[in-house]
């Protein structure tokens, strides 16, 4: 299953998979992290209960290509906005942010309008997500 290091559509990318806020549902985040790793990316997974400030700091320190936020508690609007603002304030507004989780359809449009680059809910096949991500990060 594991792609060789340096191979796969996301080879050479460093991706931060983060769990902001208090939501403890980490199954989706871990599935995504494993899939990104198999697609060749170097994945940094934060674990649970991280503040937006912490996530921004890790994104900067680790010089990541993208940030994925996993949120199933309904707090996606606030938490995504805080991460976007934090990155922008640090002069890293060019790091694309993606959101996954339980996102009501009409909220997805709002997140995209706020600057999130993609919203991936659990009905999207992993292969499609990786294709889209590879395109966005190309």
């Amino acid at each position: 299953m594991n792609a060789a290091i340096g191979a796969g559509p996301l080879a050479g990318k460093r991706i931060l998979v983060a769990k902001p806020g208090l939501d403890g549902h980490d199954s989706g985040a871990k599935v995504i992290a494993l899939a990104l790793r198999d697609a060749g990316a170097e994945v940094i997974y934060t674990g649970l209960r991280k503040t937006p400030e912490f996530i921004v700091r890790v994104a900067l320190d680790e010089d990541v290509s993208a940030v994925g936020l996993s949120i199933l508690s309904g707090s996606h609007k606030e938490l995504a906005r805080e991460v976007l603002e934090g990155l922008a304030a640090a002069g890293a507004g060019d790091i694309p942010v993606f959101v996954g989780g339980t996102i009501p359809p009409e909220d997805a449009a709002g997140l995209l309008a706020a600057g999130v680059r993609g919203v991936y809910t659990n009905d999207m096949p992993l292969a499609q997500m990786i294709d889209e991500l590879a395109l966005a990060l190309a």
Partner: protein
Amino acid sequence: MSAVPKPGAPRPETRAVTPSGIEVPVVVTREMAAESDPGLPAQYPYTRGIFADGYRGRAWTIRQYSGFGSAEESNQRYRFLLDQGQTGLSVALDLPTQCGYDPDDPMARPEIGKVGVSLFSLSEMETLFDGIDLGAISTSFTINGTAAIIYAMYLAAADKQGVPREKLTGTIQNDILKEYVARGTWIFPVRPSLRLIADSVLFSNEVSPRFNAISIAGAHVRDAGCTAIEEMAYTLANGLAYVDELIRRGGDLTRFARRLSFFFYTHMDLFEEAAKFRAGRRLWARLLRERYGVTDDKALHFRFGVVCGGSSLVAAQPYNNIVRVAIENLAAVLGGAQSIFTCAYDEAFQIPTEFSAEIALRTQQIVQHESGIAATVDPLGGSYYVEWLTERMEQGMREVMGEIDAYGGVVKAIEEGWLQRRIAQRAREKKDATDRGERVVVGQNQFRREAQADSYGEVFRLDPQIAGRVLAKHAELKRSRDAARVERALGALETAAANDEQNLMPLLVECCHAYATVGEMVERLKRCWGEFQEPVRL
């Protein structure tokens, strides 16, 4: 994407393997099932149920999980559900309350009132149950990291209503081990958390003997991705860990085992789910008898609640979920559940509306009163297939429990992240099987109508003013309470926390009566015990 079958492509369901990986014969014969005579209900090992008269004697409790916003909003929803014939309450708490943060903590603010009600102190619980007699209803709290505190608060609320504590019925989940694995509302390290659980169970046995102070839950590991066999095996392994801890603390096994209860998910494979419950019920009785020599009937009884829905619900064409939940409801009844919660069809993407919550409630009432399913005990008993499958499920559960024992026990497996990695891997396998179309999800990976925009029905909108109102109430409470009494109660709690042999429950009840907040109590305990360090290796 290419692996997903074309929409509408005819692909008859010929699955020959259950989701747990058991190969299903085309036909099961009497000879194949002969090794497993299920005996009679209420007879050891209780394959057919713990009551001789099944649901004839006592119907299962219809217990819908709800709660959101502030105590005022949830109180209104509870009164609505009770008026509609619901027979027990099930309280959903917001994440700050579950994780031990006060609403004004920076960690808490985005989450106030989102996935449940904010209960930061006794003042909120008094409002939550305003006009609801705690002596007349049974209340279940899905609470773990702060379970001992919420139980203390419930006792204090009963005191305030003038209801004797011994009259209280209900449940706190209070199962921290699975929180480290799947649900994530842990606070303290494993060992002091086990102590807090023992404190609350032993105290409850004394003061509120009809209350279940623990509900050992497989639901969340299941929803995180593991199979039905693993769900039961992990849960029973956790159950044995609690039994050992309670014995170590001097608990009387025959007495406390009578009040242990369990909680599971039901997903879509009707017969595997029913067999899971039948196998789990008899395996628990056998384990208590084999390992501990328990003979008391009531102590061997495996009582459990069930939730139908969760990750088996689908956002695409969400009304289809009503059918899914009905099938899962049947599986739970055929398995002999004591209480059931049916998810609303819109749970795949939002907090249920009053409309969707009512359909979920009506689903259970239709199953209970119209389907005839409850007329005779264990209607599947003696089915060649189900008895054969029950046997295979029990074997599978014993094998998984053996693997945990071989690793060094469930506490070690959790502290080192072994169980967490195992479940993440299962979740990945399940997702891959769905993406490949091997696991059929109607309306999502098969029979999908691409052209049609999904109709999601009514949209739930949480009142955006709720966080502000909760914060204002919190600030007002801190101004108006007797600060000296709060400080005395918290100081006594912190001192007692350092002494492993002292039961903390009386001190927590006093903290609640003094209107100390959940965040304040947790803070004092953290000073003494520290926090759990999550193993994050994938």
